[in-house]
Subunit: 183 residues, 2 copies
DNA sequence: TTCTATTTACCTATCAATAGATAGATTGTA
DNA sequence: TACAATCTATCTATTGATAGGTAAATAGAA
């Protein structure tokens, strides 16, 4: 009623982050909202469209929140802590892994455009971290470090989800900031 | 013919690692072998049984290979390099991410026993690395470091798969060994 | 050895459930 | 009147799963 599209996206994000793109159906989402599956198709003609809207919204929210969390971060270390915090909030607030972590894993089974949009999310992540690391490091070093940090965050979310222990996420990332220049 | 079960497991592992558990069907596997889907059920009554056999075989192969790769590893650093190499081979040889990385992501949508078996794989990984790190570090430090290393390896595989660039895996893990005591 | 019983490794045929998707009506609001 | 937001009804394809059949191999007893 209020905003069916948003309720739909909420339900879909929740379901996809929990079980994966292929394990989620239009009917299931419709049932959750108390509407019919045909009405879901009214907003998202094809499942791929729903997926794209999902990633679009997720990425936008993510990078917005990232900027908020990094607003007062001066040093590279503080900036890296900010992205760690952003990932952590995503995990803790919903007890679910990253939407793009899930879709990235399923990548080879997704419609091409969706898979591509997901990979853009990762590229954006790496670019952000690489930039955050500043120019104390060589370009090569910054790039390697950025890739590692994003990989660790994603892997930590996945494993914490599998083990059903969020503490595992904190353990996994506890040493990340230590290796980043305090400027 | 030769060994239908093994051919079935090969086809299934390939398909699941590429697209996820729910995106793989009995008929598809049967078609690939030139048999009927009913015959797949003959070997694996339920899809869950297939999944369990898949993880069982994967874990066994993985840890066997890990021991081979670590056979001549003396220092913690060398042992960590051995597990990195084991992960790398798994990725490069098939251009696919880890079976358990995929299933771990889908965890909440899997039959309970299967999800549990997958989490055991991760626990085994962390235990191995933690032990490999030796006693130069405190138990707490070794545990944190082990969690981080496994998370990084898993995340790196996933992101490399999503970006379709295996070089991303190497970049992501290039700094792992540097932080491990050379004894 | 020969006959019989059992098992293995498939098959055909079919099920109910669910999937994504579409056409075309209906309802409410502006 | 016109449009947005839903519905009903239905389609075709696919899913995991099962019942029951069959040819060939194997094992055991006579």
């Amino acid at each position: 009623m209020v905003d069916t599209v948003e309720r739909l996206l909420n339900a879909a994000e929740n379901a996809v982050r929990a079980r994966g793109f292929h394990a989620v159906s239009f009917r299931e989402l419709a049932d959750e909202l108390g509407i019919k599956s045909a009405s879901v198709h009214y907003y998202f003609r094809h499942k791929e469209d729903l997926g794209l809207a999902l990633v679009e919204r997720y990425a936008e929210k993510f990078f917005t929140q990232l900027e908020v969390n990094a607003a007062n971060a001066g040093t590279p270390k503080e900036k890296v802590e900010a992205i760690c915090q952003t990932y952590r909030d995503a995990l803790i607030s919903s007890d679910q892994m990253c939407l793009c972590g899930m879709l990235g894993a399923e990548s080879n089974g997704l419609p091409a455009k969706l898979a591509q949009r997901v990979s853009r999310f990762f590229e954006g992540n790496v670019r952000w971290v690489s930039h955050a690391l500043g120019d104390t490091l060589s370009e090569r070093e910054a790039d390697d470090k950025a890739h590692r940090i994003v990989a660790t965050l994603q892997g930590a979310m996945m494993i914490a989800t599998s083990l059903k222990r969020n503490a595992v996420f904190d353990q996994s990332i506890s040493l990340i900031a230590a290796g980043v220049p305090d400027e």
